[in-house]
């Protein structure tokens, strides 16, 4: 035995690894998992919702949101739009580091999978982006996320703009990074030349909005005033130094989604034709910044506040202890809405429990995960 100490040690380490795998992936279901169930009945002009929350071995904080929807949504598996993420490392990035841009892609794909988003998620490079923007027929079922703080020169420059017509025909654009539409990125690994007259600069905003709606702050600013959306959806992105002016959002019938500083919002929505532009007001340098961005984007996409269900009807928060089971019920007045979306999510950092249900008049159409 004395001479076998090294072998014994190695075997112990190998056993530890096997034990770790069994614990983490839990094929024997030793660690009971949390569970959410929901049922509802229609009683005249009210809907009675009964739901059960059960915690697993670990305590958890949950939030339940009920949204009123202006569309007759039938099935949760059909309402999610397709997501296109523009990411092309061969093109220049501005206001988003290469690590942060790559992190957006990785995190967004996995996050939407964990949250059981039903739309297709596809990464497009500069060439594919051009092809996508030319297909206006599917724009109203698509969300485009620009991860590199600048449109590539395949779709946007001083001379041409394929983005605006695509949005006007129904597309949703989500922007993060440097000033909106300020630069036109070239295919190059070199850093962007900020002084190059090639860039549309301030004129870029006029190309989209006919005016200047973002006046950048000279130094870092963040918003600490919550809006209804940022509070209920637990949105965390708070940079406002490149955010849209609140007054401009109000003039244009837009929506203040994110947190507010004195004159800007960290996430603002501006309608444009049949579509909309959502602008996040700050740069991303670290992978952690990207993570915050991705969590907020996922919340917007899953709750559908940006398209079908903008009205928050009810918000409930619960704190469950280990193995605790909560049985609750709720009554929703039908009022003017054609359907309702119920979204439950774990509010703990890195929570992994998410579930959604659609409620409408036709009970046979009810659906959830």
């Amino acid at each position: 035995m004395k001479n076998k100490i090294f072998e014994t040690m190695t075997i112990i380490l190998l056993i530890l690894i096997i034990f770790s795998e069994i614990t983490i992936y839990d094929p024997l279901n030793f660690f009971s998992k949390p569970n959410l169930t929901l049922d509802y009945t229609i009683k005249g002009d009210r809907i009675q919702v009964n739901y059960t929350l059960s915690a697993g071995y670990y305590p958890m904080n949950m939030k339940m949101l009920i949204f009123g929807c202006y569309y007759n949504l039938s099935n949760i598996s059909k309402i999610d739009k397709d997501i296109y993420i523009y990411y092309d490392p061969t093109y220049q990035s501005v206001g988003v580091s290469k690590i942060a841009a790559k992190a957006i892609v990785g995190h967004l794909i996995s996050e939407l999978k964990i949250r059981r988003y039903n739309g297709k998620v596809k990464v497009v490079n500069a060439t594919e982006l051009k092809e996508l923007l030319l297909k206006k027929s599917i724009s109203n079922k698509s969300v485009l996320i620009i991860t590199q703080g600048a449109f590539p020169d395949t779709v946007y420059s001083l001379e041409y703009n394929l983005v605006k017509p695509w949005i006007e025909s129904g597309g949703t654009l989500i922007w993060v990074g440097d000033m909106f539409a300020y630069y036109s990125a070239k295919k190059s690994r070199e850093k962007i030349n900020y002084l190059d007259p090639w860039h549309p600069r301030e004129y870029g905003q006029r190309l989209f909005f006919n005016d200047i709606i973002i006046i950048p702050d000279k130094s870092y600013t963040s918003g600490d005033i919550d809006t209804e959306y940022s509070a209920t959806l637990n949105l965390k992105f708070d940079y406002t130094y490149l955010g849209i002016q609140i007054s401009e959002i109000l003039i244009r019938n837009g929506t203040i989604i994110g947190k507010m500083s004195k004159d800007k919002t960290s996430i603002g929505l501006i309608p444009m034709g049949k579509g909309k532009i959502i602008i996040f007001g700050g740069r991303l340098f670290k992978a952690e910044d990207s993570r915050t961005f991705v969590e907020d984007v996922s919340q917007l996409l899953l709750s559908h506040i940006i398209d079908y269900c903008p009205d928050i009807l009810d918000v409930k928060s619960y704190s469950l202890n280990r193995k605790e089971i909560l049985k609750l019920d709720e009554e929703i007045p039908k009022v003017k809405y054609k359907s309702f979306l119920i979204y439950m999510f774990q509010t703990d950092i890195e929570g992994s429990i998410f579930n959604r249900w659609i409620i409408n008049d036709k009970k046979s159409n009810r659906s959830g995960h």
């Binding site: 100490i5 090294f6 072998e7 040690m9 190695t10 380490l13 190998l14 530890l16 690894i17 096997i18 034990f19 770790s20 795998e21 614990t23 983490i24 992936y25 839990d26 660690f31 998992k33 949390p34 697993g56 071995y57 670990y58 305590p59 958890m60 904080n61 490392p89 290469k98 690590i99 790559k102 992190a103 990785g106 995190h107 996995s110 996050e111 964990i114 690994r189 070199e190 850093k191 870092y220 963040s222 600490d224 708070d238 940079y239 340098f285 670290k286 952690e288 774990q346 703990d348 950092i349 890195e350 929570g351 992994s352 429990i353």
Partner: protein, 539 residues
């Protein structure tokens, strides 16, 4: 009866040669571990742990950019601990750090609690103990002298860089060090099955140990070829090796396959997409010299060229070492050469890497300690090494803590530290391996401190005790950043440059010394070449 057995066991442990060293070492580690964090990494370990606790796999959210072993170890420790402790109490976002984070990028705006720090650093501290014990055992076998085995254990266990990496920074490089040591031990023992298992474990901790595979294969071939062409034995040994690797790989990969997380295993390879950041203490540290900043940008935009060229150089040097090794081995059959060869290969990887961070230095420490202790040194040298390391640890820690406090005298304190660093080149204690261990340790801790100063790492101390204010941390960190260096615009650039010079000087010194041992002193290569040439001409 049971009680007697337990009492006997406790007495046995108490009477062990390492008992008191172990207790003191553990005490030092935990006193540091609870209130310190490395802001950039901590958030990854914290979130990775929560993901596992909340039922996700280690790669389901893409935080973890390494092969899975550390993820598994971290996961199992935290998942079981959280059956008792509340995971909601593991960490908090700190609003006060948000602006500092944006301006300097030096804090994460996030702090973990002493409880979490205790839990996640415990496996790393256990690893330190295991490595120390293995070193003790190796020296005991090699020298059959308990005194030297205890010296060796202490050189590892009380090394400030070792303590810094596991208990302060909380990096898992010591786990990789453990597997590298095990690979070297099993190759030394010619136990190919366990070599394969250790190699598998190492590769799935960080891909790095794959660098040892060619030399292991050559050794299997050479050893038996010289034993009258025992081809069957060669095949059998190769089978043992690959079965070990296959078994370990299967165990590690299988759950990832079932959980559809296999793709993330290869995430380290996609680093080429974001461009390499050359620097650290590698030879690229020359980029920190004022006026040479272009080197970083150039390497970043020529990532493919840089990586492929470095790989070619690395491959050629390893080939050279392999050839050298074959000739040496044919003559002497000295098993101890294994440790020399492993040291050389790690040195080559250091010299040809695009970056080198302080935790990486740990990989070579056990080998330097083994070679240094085996080569022989006296009690006085041992005492001096321990004393210098201790004094330097105190000086450098005090300098980085004090500099931002003493506004006007800050540069003066740092200049003294820089001069001490330069003077360390003159140190000659023990033998070349221990001398290098000393200089690498000094350089490693200074480099780490220089990145952000010490204050930003003390965030948990400020939050969970009332001794320090967060505003002070904020202020001292910004003050530290603005201290001018002796040769460059910033202190950190100065120290990066100096420590880069020191460590590469040590690498080359040890490299040349081993080559001399393997080649020039014994004229092995020349003699063998002559023999071969003679045989060829006779034919």
């Amino acid at each position: 009866m049971k009680k007697d057995v337990i009492i006997l066991f406790i007495k046995k442990i108490q009477n062990h040669d390492l008992f008191y060293s172990l207790m003191i070492g553990i005490l030092i580690r935990y006193s540091i571990a609870l209130y310190t964090i490395q802001p950039n990494d901590i958030i990854v370990w914290f979130k990775e742990s929560l993901n596992v606790i909340y039922g996700l796999g280690i790669y389901e959210r893409p935080y973890f950019a390494y092969p899975p072993i550390w993820g598994y170890i971290l996961g199992v420790f935290l998942k079981f601990s959280s059956l008792i402790f509340n995971p909601r109490e593991y960490g908090y976002y700190i609003k006060e750090f948000h602006q500092l984070d944006y301006v300097t990028g030096m804090v994460s705006g996030f702090v973990t609690t002493p409880l979490f720090n205790f839990l996640y650093k415990t496996p790393l501290i256990i690893t330190d103990i295991i490595i120390g014990y293995l070193i003790y055992k190796v020296i005991l076998e090699l020298k059959n002298d308990k005194r030297f085995a205890i010296y060796a254990f202490n050189l590892w266990f009380f090394n400030p860089l070792v303590i810094l990496v596991s208990s302060y920074i909380g990096k898992f490089d010591n786990i990789l060090t453990l597997f590298i040591l095990l690979i070297a031990i099993f190759v030394y023992k010619r136990n190919w099955f366990f070599t394969g298992i250790s190699l598998g474990l190492g590769i799935f901790t960080k891909i790095y140990p794959i660098i040892f595979l060619p030399i292991i294969l050559i050794l299997i071939l050479v050893e038996k070829i010289t034993d009258r062409y025992q081809f069957k034995k060669i095949i059998l040994n190769l089978l043992y090796l690959f079965f070990g690797i296959f078994l370990t790989s299967s165990i590690i990969i299988l759950p990832l396959l079932f959980n559809d997380e296999y793709g993330r295993l290869f995430s380290p390879f996609t680093r080429i997409e974001t461009g390499v950041g050359v620097g650290g203490m590698s030879i690229w540290s020359v980029r920190y010299l004022t006026g040479h900043e272009w080197i970083y940008d150039w390497a970043h935009t020529h990532t493919k060229f840089v990586i492929s060229t470095l790989f070619k150089i690395q491959f050629s040097l390893i080939l050279f070492i392999t050839v050298l090794f074959i000739f040496k081995y044919i003559k002497s059959k000295e098993k101890l050469i294994t440790y020399y060869i492993f040291t050389l290969i790690i040195l080559i990887s250091y010299l040809t890497n695009y970056t080198l961070n302080p935790p990486y230095l740990l990989w070579i420490f056990p080998l330097l300690i083994i070679l240094g202790t085996y080569t022989g040194f006296g009690y006085n040298s041992y005492k001096k090494i321990m004393l210098i390391i201790f004094i330097y640890g105190v000086i450098s820690t005090s300098a980085f803590l004090l500099a931002p406090l003493l506004k006007n005298n800050a540069p003066f304190i740092i200049y003294i530290l820089e001069i001490i660093l330069i003077l360390s080149l003159l140190i000659r204690i023990g033998n070349i391996y221990l001398n290098s261990l000393l200089i690498l340790t000094i350089s490693g801790i200074t480099f780490y401190y220089a990145i952000k100063g010490i204050w930003s790492d003390l965030a948990p101390f400020a939050i969970f005790t009332n001794i320090l204010d967060l505003k002070n941390i904020d202020e001292y960190t910004i003050r530290y950043i603005s201290i001018k260096g002796l040769f460059n615009n910033t202190v950190s650039s100065d120290i990066y440059l100096l420590t880069g010079l020191l460590v590469n000087y040590c690498f080359i010194l040890v490299f040349v010394s081993i080559i001399k041992y393997l080649w020039i002193r014994d004229h092995i290569l020349i003699n063998n070449l002559k023999k071969i040439m003679g045989k060829v001409s006779r034919k």
